[in-house]
Subunit: 641 residues, 2 copies
C-alpha cells in the first residue's frame, strides 16, 4: 500500500489525452484538485519541460478555494511540452500552524518544541550546507530551556529556517500523470484577420496594391480563399446558379482544372512570382498571409484522372460528386480518405501533406482549413502532427461550422484555432454564456476561438439588411471578446443583402462573382476598424480570453465586460448596446475589484472609439448608447494606478 495525496482534475487537458494548448512567452495556468485525509498542511508544485528535455521549469502551486491549487508557468519554446503536478504533506508547516495556534491559546507547548526540533533534525541531511547552519541553530534554540517558549518557537519560524524547509518534498510525495501541451506562436491565439478575393482586385498583383490599406486598418493576417485553378465542369454561376455565363469565374473552392490542382495558381490570378510579391509585401507590412486549404476537387482536377482511386465510385464507374440529398454539388468531387488499398491511402495522405509543404515553402505559415469536419479526424491528427514536427510555427484555422462536439474535437486533434458560433450569438444572455464557455469551459484548454461577424456563406441576425451601427456593434464584439477575429472584404462597406428571407447566404456572394468595390467611400467603416485594431494593439488585456469578466447591467440590451492583465497594468471595459433598433441607457453594476479600482476611488474611463474621457466614481456609472454608436471601449485607469 502506498501513501498518497489526491491529485485530480489536472488542467489544461483534453478529453482523450491529446495535448492541450499554450502560447510561447505567455502564461500557462496549471491547476489541479489537491487534497488528502485529515487536516495536515499540503504543499504542491507544477513543473514544465520541453518534451524529452531533462530541464524542468518548476513553480510552487498555491491553494485557491475548494481544494483547487494553481500555478503559472511560461513556456519559452515552440512545440510539444510536458507538465506534471506534485503534492506532498508539509509536516513542518503543519507543525508551525498547530504549535502557533496552541501557543496563542496559552497552552503548554514544551512537547511541541521538542517535536519541532526532531522534525528539523530529520530534514538536516537533505539541506544545502548554507541552510543547515540556520536549521541547526533553530534546533538548539527549540531545546534551550533557558529561553522563553515564545523565543524558542520564533527561532523555528524565521525565514532562514522556513524557506529551505519549504522546498523539501514530503514522504508521501505524489505525482500526477504527465500531461502534454502544444506550445504555439502568438498568432495561433491572437490576431486580426482580413479576407480578400484576389480576383476582385484583378489578381494577385492588384491585391498586393490593396495590402497597404489593409495594413493601415491594423490587420495582422490577410487570408486568401483558394488561389488555385477553378474547374469548368458544372461551374456555378452568380448566386450559385447552375447555368453560368461565359465570364462567370466559378467558385474558387471548385479546385483544379487542366492547368493544375492544389499546387497550381489560377492563371487569371497571376504567377508564382506574383504570389511571392504578394507575400513579400504583406510581410513588409508586418502582416502574414493565410491560405485556404480545401481538400476537394473539381471534376477537372488532375487527381481525378491521375488517381481515380482517391475518389468514391458508383456502379457505372462514374465518380461520386458531393451531395446532401436531395441537393447535388456536381462541381465538387469529395475525396475518399479511406481507399481500399492501404498503399493508396498512404499515397493520398502524403499528397495532401505535400500541398501544405508546397505552400509553406512559398511563405505561407497559416492555413484556413475548409470544412474539416467532412474529413476524418484521424487524418487531421496525422497531418497536423506531421507538419508541426518539421514546422512548429504553422497555424491551422478550422472552419468547423458543425456540431459542438465535432468543433471541439477538431481543436483537440490539433487545429490551432476555430471558427465559432459567434455569428449566431446576438442576444446579451447568449453572448455572456458563450464567451464564458469559451473562456472558462473544458474546451478552453485546447480550443481557441476566431470570431467572424460574417462569412461569404453566412449573413445572419441583425446584420441582414443591417444599418452601419450594427456593423460597428458586431465588430466591437468580435474584436474585443475574442483575441482572434476577422472580417471579410466588403464588411467595411456594410454589405448586407441576404440571398432570400429563408437563406442566410449573401445575395451576390463573392464566392461566385467578381466584386468591384469603392473602398474609398467616405462613409466606409475603415476608420472605425482602424481605431478598434489600434486599441487591440495597445491593450494587452484584449489579447487574452480567460480574463473576461461580465458585469451586471440592469438593461437586457446592454452588455458590459472587462478584461485586465494579470498584473492589473491594463484594464479595458467594453459596454455595448446589442439592440439594433433602439437607444438604451443603464446604470451599470460594475465589479470594481475586477477593474482594479479601490473602494471609494475615482477612476477614468477613456473611450478608445471617440477619445472622450469620463471621470467615474463608484460602481454605478450611467451609460447611454444609440444603435448608431452602440459601443464604448473604455481604458480604465484608477487614481492609484
Amino acid at each position: 500500500m502506498k501513501r498518497g495525496i489526491v491529485i485530480d482534475n489536472v488542467r489544461p487537458r483534453t478529453p482523450t489525452g491529446l495535448p492541450a494548448k499554450a502560447v510561447v512567452g505567455r502564461r500557462l495556468r496549471v491547476s489541479a484538485d489537491i487534497f488528502r485525509d485529515g487536516h495536515n498542511v499540503l504543499a504542491a508544485r507544477a513543473a514544465l519541460r520541453v518534451a524529452g528535455s531533462k530541464k524542468w521549469q518548476v513553480t510552487p502551486m498555491t491553494a485557491l478555494v475548494n481544494d483547487v491549487w494553481t500555478a503559472t508557468l511560461t513556456p519559452t519554446e515552440l512545440g510539444l511540452h510536458e507538465f506534471v503536478v506534485e503534492a506532498w504533506t508539509d509536516a513542518f508547516a503543519t507543525w508551525r500552524r498547530d504549535t502557533a495556534l496552541k501557543a496563542n491559546a496559552g497552552e503548554d507547548i514544551e512537547l511541541e518544541l521538542e517535536e519541532g526540533a526532531r522534525l528539523l533534525e530529520s530534514r538536516l541531511r537533505r539541506l544545502h550546507r548554507v541552510d543547515r547552519e540556520h536549521v541547526r541553530d533553530a534546533i538548539s534554540a527549540l531545546r534551550d530551556t533557558d529561553r522563553s517558549r515564545s523565543e524558542r518557537l520564533d527561532a523555528a519560524l524565521s525565514p532562514e529556517v522556513v524557506e529551505p524547509l519549504t522546498e523539501l518534498t514530503g514522504a508521501d510525495e505524489t505525482k500526477s500523470a504527465i500531461y502534454r501541451v502544444w506550445v504555439d506562436r502568438e498568432r495561433a491565439a491572437i490576431g486580426a484577420w482580413y479576407e480578400l478575393f484576389p480576383r476582385s482586385h484583378g489578381g494577385l498583383l492588384g491585391a498586393t496594391e490593396r495590402l497597404d490599406a489593409v495594413a493601415a486598418m491594423g490587420f495582422d493576417v490577410v487570408y486568401l480563399p483558394p488561389v488555385h485553378p477553378v474547374g469548368t465542369s458544372f461551374r456555378k454561376g452568380r448566386n450559385n446558379s447552375l447555368v453560368p455565363s461565359a465570364d462567370d469565374p466559378g467558385s474558387p473552392w471548385a479546385i483544379g482544372n487542366a492547368s493544375g490542382g492544389h499546387t497550381a495558381i489560377e492563371p487569371t490570378l497571376g504567377t508564382f512570382d506574383d504570389f511571392a510579391v504578394f507575400v513579400t509585401h504583406a510581410n513588409a507590412l508586418h502582416m502574414e498571409v493565410a491560405l485556404d486549404f480545401a481538400l476537394q476537387c473539381s471534376p477537372d482536377h488532375p487527381w481525378v484522372t491521375e488517381h481515380p482511386e482517391w475518389f468514391h465510385h458508383r456502379p457505372d464507374n462514374s465518380i461520386k460528386y458531393a451531395e446532401n440529398p436531395p441537393k447535388k454539388y456536381q462541381d465538387i468531387y469529395p475525396i475518399n480518405f479511406w481507399p481500399d488499398a492501404e498503399s493508396d491511402r498512404r499515397a493520398l495522405w502524403d499528397a495532401c501533406k505535400e500541398i501544405v509543404d508546397f505552400w509553406i515553402a512559398r511563405g505561407v505559415r497559416i492555413f484556413r482549413v475548409d470544412n474539416p469536419h467532412t474529413k476524418p479526424l484521424t487524418f487531421w491528427e496525422w497531418l497536423i502532427t506531421q507538419v508541426h514536427a518539421a514546422h512548429p510555427d504553422i497555424v491551422f484555422l478550422s472552419e468547423a461550422f458543425t456540431r459542438p462536439k465535432m468543433m471541439a474535437k477538431l481543436a483537440e486533434v490539433g487545429f490551432s484555432q476555430s471558427y465559432t458560433y459567434f455569428t449566431w450569438r446576438t442576444h446579451k444572455h447568449e453572448i455572456v454564456e458563450y464567451a464564458n464557455e469559451l473562456a472558462y469551459g473544458p474546451t478552453a484548454d485546447y480550443m481557441r476561438p476566431n470570431f467572424w461577424p460574417t462569412t461569404p456563406d453566412i449573413l445572419s441576425g441583425p446584420l441582414r439588411q443591417g444599418h452601419p451601427g450594427v456593423f460597428k456593434q458586431r465588430l466591437v464584439l468580435a474584436a474585443t471578446l475574442s483575441p482572434s477575429y476577422g472580417i471579410y472584404s466588403g464588411y467595411e462597406l456594410y454589405e448586407n443583402e441576404p440571398f432570400s428571407d429563408s437563406n442566410e447566404e449573401f445575395l451576390h456572394s463573392e464566392k461566385y462573382e467578381i466584386k468591384q468595390r469603392d473602398f474609398d467611400r467616405p462613409d466606409s467603416l475603415a476608420p472605425f476598424i482602424t481605431r478598434i485594431n489600434d486599441a487591440r494593439r495597445r491593450h494587452p488585456a484584449l489579447c487574452e480570453l480567460d480574463n473576461i469578466a461580465f458585469h451586471h447591467t440592469g438593461n437586457d440590451h446592454v452588455l458590459a465586460y472587462s478584461k485586465a492583465t494579470t498584473d492589473g497594468s491594463d484594464v479595458v471595459l467594453v459596454v455595448v448596446n446589442v439592440d439594433p433598433d433602439a437607444t438604451h441607457e443603464d446604470t451599470l453594476g460594475l465589479d470594481l475589484a475586477a477593474l482594479g479600482v479601490g473602494d471609494g476611488e475615482q477612476y477614468e474611463a477613456h473611450d478608445e472609439l471617440t477619445g472622450a474621457t469620463f471621470v467615474w466614481y463608484g460602481a454605478n456609472p450611467y451609460v447611454r448608447l444609440s444603435p448608431e454608436d452602440p459601443a464604448h471601449v473604455l481604458h480604465i485607469r484608477s487614481a492609484s494606478a
Copy 2:
C-alpha cells in the same frame, strides 16, 4: 492508420477509473458522445457483463440531441460489472435515408438501386440462413427493371431486410474502453433510516421493544451508534463537558475499555445474545440493522496497550490524542494508519477489516462509517474492496461532513452512499441547485445521497427552535428529494434546542446523556412520518433520483418538483413552502409533459399527506401552504392514464 468513430464522455464513470455504481434489477443508463466526420448514419450499442464473464447483455443505443447516445441496461447480479460502448457507420441505413430522399425529390435512382443491391450482397455472408432468403429476394427486386423504381426500393425497406442488417456492425466498428460499475443491492440506494441509542431504551433489549413502533412508522433501516464499551479516561459529561458526573455514560464514540474494544458490546447495553435478539426482531419486521463503524479508540481501548504501534506518539512516549488546535479531544486517540513498519500497517488494516467481518457474522450488513475523511482514502478503497469481494451485499454509508471534493472521492473509492450538505440547504434556489447537482452532475455516477434533516451534532437553519411545521417541511424534503433519508430518534418529538447561538449542536445531545422520551405524546410527528414512508413505499417514482424535475414557481418560497418512473406509470408532484414563518400562495408553472399530462387534459392530484384530491386543469394550478402544513405530496393521475 485506423478508421474510427469518436466515442467520448462515456457514462457512468468516475474521475479516476474506479467503478461507477448501479443497483441490481434497476435501470443502468449508459451514455456517450458518438460522432464521426461527414453525414453518414451511425449505429451504436452498449454491452454489460459481470466482470470476467463471457456473457454480455447487449442493447442498441439511440441518439438524443447533440451527439449524445444512450441505452438502458439492467444488471441482474451483485458485484463488479463491466460495460463497453460500440459504434459503427451503418452503410445500409445511410443508403436507405439518402435514396428515399432522392426518390421523394423525384430524382432518377437507378444507380442508387444497384448500389443498394451491391451493399446487400456484401452483407449476405454474415446473415443467418433464415434472413438470407429475404435479402436475396430484395437484391433481385432491386435489379428487376420490369418493376417500378419505388416498388424496387420498397423491397429493400421491408422489416425482414432492415432488421437483420441493422444488427451487423460496420467496417469501422469502434469500441470504447471497458468501464467498470459496481452493482449493489437496492438498500445501497433506497431506504428510510431511523437512528436510536439503545442506552436511552435501557439497552439492547429495551431497544428491541421500540422496534415495532419504528417499523410501524415505515422505516427500512435501524441505525445504532457504537454499541461498544465506552472509555472512562477523560470521559465527556453532559453537553460535552470535561467534568462528567459519576453516572454520565460518556460518548459512545470514545470506544473501548477494559471489557473490550470494537468487537465487544458495552456491558450496560446487554450481551451478544441481546444483540442477536435485536437483529432478529428487526429483520422479522423487515428492517435491517446498520452499525456505526468509528475507527478511533478511547485511551482505555485494548489496542492502546496491545498495539501501541498503531497510534501516534509524542517525544515523551505518550500517545497523541485527537486535537483540532487549540481544541483537544483527550478522550479519543486517533489511529495511525501508516505505522513505520509495513508489517504493522498490514496487521492494523487487517484488524480493522476483522471488525467489519465480526459484525457481518452477527447479522450486520450495513455500516455507517464515522468521519471517513480523517482516514486514508487508500485504506477505504482497500477495506471496501476486500469486504465486497466476500460480501457484495454490504452497504457502507459515509459520514463525509467534509469538503465537497473529499465527499465525492470517498464515494468514488467505494462508499455506497453519503451524508450530504442537505442539512444546510434551506432556501429554494439552494435546494434546486443541490438536488440537480446530485441527480445529474458528474458525481451522480457514483455518489448516492442520504438526506438527514438533523444529526446529533447538527441542528441548523429553521429547525433551530423550529416549530412542528418546520420538522414536517424538512422531513418531506429529505424523504422525497432523496431515495435514502433518515432521522435521528427525537426528531418526531421536535427536539429543537440549540447548544448556543453560535454552536450548531444540540443542547442535551444524546451523544453525552441518556434520553427519556415520551414517544406516545399525542402531538408526535409519528403519524405524519408514517404517511410519508408509506407514500415512499407505494410510489416507485420516489425511489429514483435522476428522474427529478423542478417546476417553475413564481414565489421564491414555494418549491415544486416532480418525479416519474421511466414508463410514466407513477408520477408524484411535491410542493413545499420553505418559509417557516409565513403562508405563501402561488400559481405554479408546471411542465405538464413531465407529469405525463397531455395538453388540455384534466388530471387528479391526490395528496398523500391529507387524502384530499384536487382536480386540476392546465399548467397553473393555485396552491397555498401555511408554515404549519407546509407541503403537498401529490400523486398525479391524468385522465388518459
